[in-house]
Symmetry: C2
Subunit: 318 residues, 2 copies
Amino acid sequence: MNLRSSDPETLIAAAAGGDKSAISRLISLIERGGDPARRVSRLTYGRGDSYTVGLTGAPGAGKSTLTSCLIAEIRAAGRPVAVLAVDPSSPFTGGAILGDRVRMQDHALDEGVFIRSMATRGHLGGLALATPEAVRVLAAAGIGLVLVETVGVGQVEVDIARAADTTVVVVNPGWGDTIQANKAGLLEIADVFVINKADRPGVAETRRDLDNMLDMSSTMGPWRPPIVSTVASTGEGVGELWAAVAAHREHLERSGELALRRTARLCEELSAVLARGIEQRVAALEGGARYQRARDEVVSGACDPYTAAEDLLEALGL
Amino acid sequence: MNLRSSDPETLIAAAAGGDKSAISRLISLIERGGDPARRVSRLTYGRGDSYTVGLTGAPGAGKSTLTSCLIAEIRAAGRPVAVLAVDPSSPFTGGAILGDRVRMQDHALDEGVFIRSMATRGHLGGLALATPEAVRVLAAAGIGLVLVETVGVGQVEVDIARAADTTVVVVNPGWGDTIQANKAGLLEIADVFVINKADRPGVAETRRDLDNMLDMSSTMGPWRPPIVSTVASTGEGVGELWAAVAAHREHLERSGELALRRTARLCEELSAVLARGIEQRVAALEGGARYQRARDEVVSGACDPYTAAEDLLEALGL
């Protein structure tokens, strides 16, 4: 391919042929937004889906090392795999590899592994919109399995879970004392729990703690999240973790829940895209004469903001 | 008045006559939203403004005690005053007095003092929309001075500052070690700094720390925020604090900045109301047949979310 090309169709053809730099540039186009991003979306939509596994947990829990172990596990079975490392707090874009992702470099020369950092802070619509689009690019490139790892905390975890088919929540022994407040939220999104760094004391207590939480949960469906112990630094337990992910995938497929989850996700995505389109139109509206008049009336005290807003929307035919 | 009346006009007339329960019920109407809230907005808009002083700072900094001292100071001069205690994390509405506001009960029997808690979590548009509306109700009731105190942290502080004419940031001796990360944000919103609990060690260091921050600030205009020390539990320094607030008010009025700030605030309010109106229309749209069709096309893979959203907006005339 022409390495300077930024034409979406050319890039997608190259990506489908296994060209990693083409995949990377397609994701860059998505990150930047605008018309090229839309063309990429149109061209990659409906061409099949990749299975997406989200890894979430507190900073320092060992998500990155665990992801690296999972890559090795997946590659041993001969399947291609992609990693999206999402950093919602960073304004950087363009595929910079994050510092703590260095150990993933072990896999950098493997043709069957694609690793990409995504910085979503600047992305309109954020993670919720950027991730599914990137996953569709990867699907179009023939990579049927995507690990999405987040560098961050809080709301992001929920966003990761929304974008993933299976969500793995990584905790450490003794976690219960430190992140009490967030437990209920993690319980809601976890499909599999991992107690990583299980060579440290407190594994049994943490497992009991998680089990108690699961016993008391009133929202749990037919799938009870299994609890796996790992030592990512040695690879111990990683096979069992991957088996748990596979079991969850099988459960989702057999029960029909995978299709339901994906449909719900697409509807959310449509709503988000719609809201973004409307925001852009409001921004455009705010540059216009009609808005200026309404503003002047509000500022002079002639009209309250509610009436002014209603009049504006009516004038727009809304 | 008829105590059972919930007619906005009747309530506003009663409020203007000094009826506190009428004021409280008008604010409840605003909190609940919908048509009655809009009528209250329309009826109270453009009838004059109250001067608004926001108090913000970390939980435990002594905002509530300080507010109580300020009430005493203001009442000594014979002026009526209102306190809005905003709890953005609480879903309660209807004027429940917060627990740590008990010491304000000293003023509960004073006819010239109105104290109200507002829970904004359920309020569409949140604090940014609820506060200015409540302030206009208070203005219509003839209360020309409003203290807005927040129970909370983070983004809320910025919202309080946006809604206030003068923002007082309350810190404690030794604060510098604990909330390092937030300093720049506080610097941006502070019109007056208070070092409360100044009977504790570390006052001089905290003052030097704040002074250094102010020296290095590149965004500061002609007003340099003064730093006042108080011991709210004894009332020490509260007179000086109120004098600093008065000096800031005089500066705003003399320089013309008060009018500019209020104009900017009204424009923000109009944008927020507009965005909310559009959100409601999108929600309504999502119940309709056209949206259903678009959704089906997206789910079946026939159309990507971007094209579907664009088509929907075009169909709306946007």
